[in-house]
């Protein structure tokens, strides 16, 4: 019997009244139209969220003060069926090029007008890896806890 322990990914399944082409397009080119405005890591209000439409393309945000914040990059870009993004924002809500967690979306046609989306955010154990781990606890008492409160306020409003 194998005792290999695998960490739990976050998984979601959505059924959309849209074609895979449209769903893929809205998630990527259209991300700025739906991304929650409260969720970013910039110091100034969010202006735009961008996913560059190619493997190796950047996933980043622009802000009202003219600054940019990298979030990650595109690992796999196969419209209309598969999108894989590297989420490199660590537990302190800082961009960390050395951190790789994976966000994967698979778009499958259910019929001519509906799409099933299988969403997964995995490799979460890596949030506990590396040098970031030592700083994480420290940050969670202050910044992280603070962000959580802001998030809850936004979610409840």
């Amino acid at each position: 019997m194998s005792l290999t322990i695998k960490p739990a990914a976050i998984r979601k399944v959505l059924n959309l009244r849209a074609t895979p082409q449209r769903a893929f397009e809205v998630f990527t080119a259209g991300i700025d139209r739906w991304w929650p405005r409260t969720h970013h890591i910039g110091k100034s209000p969010l202006k735009q969220v961008i996913i560059e439409p190619r493997v190796g393309g950047r996933w980043y945000s622009t802000h009202e003060d003219g600054s940019e914040c990298p979030w990650g990059d595109v690992l796999c870009y196969e419209p209309p069926s598969l999108l894989m993004l590297a989420w490199r924002i660590n537990a302190q809500f800082q961009f960390d090029q050395a951190l790789l967690t994976t966000v994967e979306l698979r778009f499958t046609a259910v019929n001519e007008s509906e799409t099933r989306v299988d969403f997964e955010h995995r490799d979460l154990e890596r949030f506990g890896d590396s040098e970031a781990a030592g700083k994480t606890r420290e940050a969670m008492g202050g910044g992280w806890g603070q962000i959580l409160i802001l998030f809850q306020n936004a979610a409840n409003s």
Partner: protein
């Protein structure tokens, strides 16, 4: 601090369910067992693993122990991400379906 074990502890589906019940607030062993198809001793065992992994903390309240997500553990991050993606994906779904809904409204008006 067993941060590296935190997510591994959540690999077990029942344990994950126990953990996710705590997202809504502190719960006693009895409250958890009453809403899950699991015995109280089994719930206690899962909570012990979650506690050892730094995901939950407990305190005595009267004669029972009440558990909640450890605000200083990585479990809070997973709980946050889980909720965050629910909100983000709901917004994504609404946007993906928006033009179809608008087209239907137009058909109705016509």
């Amino acid at each position: 601090m067993a941060n590296a074990n935190a997510f591994a502890a959540l690999a077990d589906p029942t344990r994950r369910t126990v953990f996710e019940r705590l997202k809504d607030g502190p719960r006693s062993v009895r409250e958890l067992a009453d809403t899950l198809p699991v015995t109280r001793p089994a719930v206690s065992q899962h909570l012990k693993v979650l506690k050892d992994a730094g995901l939950v903390i407990d305190r005595a309240q009267g004669r029972q122990r009440v558990y909640r997500i450890d605000p200083h553990g990585l479990g809070q991050l997973r709980a946050w991400l889980d909720r965050f993606w629910d909100i983000a994906l709901e917004a994504f779904k609404a946007e993906a379906e928006r033009e179809i809904d608008e087209a239907k409204e137009k058909d109705k008006d016509a």
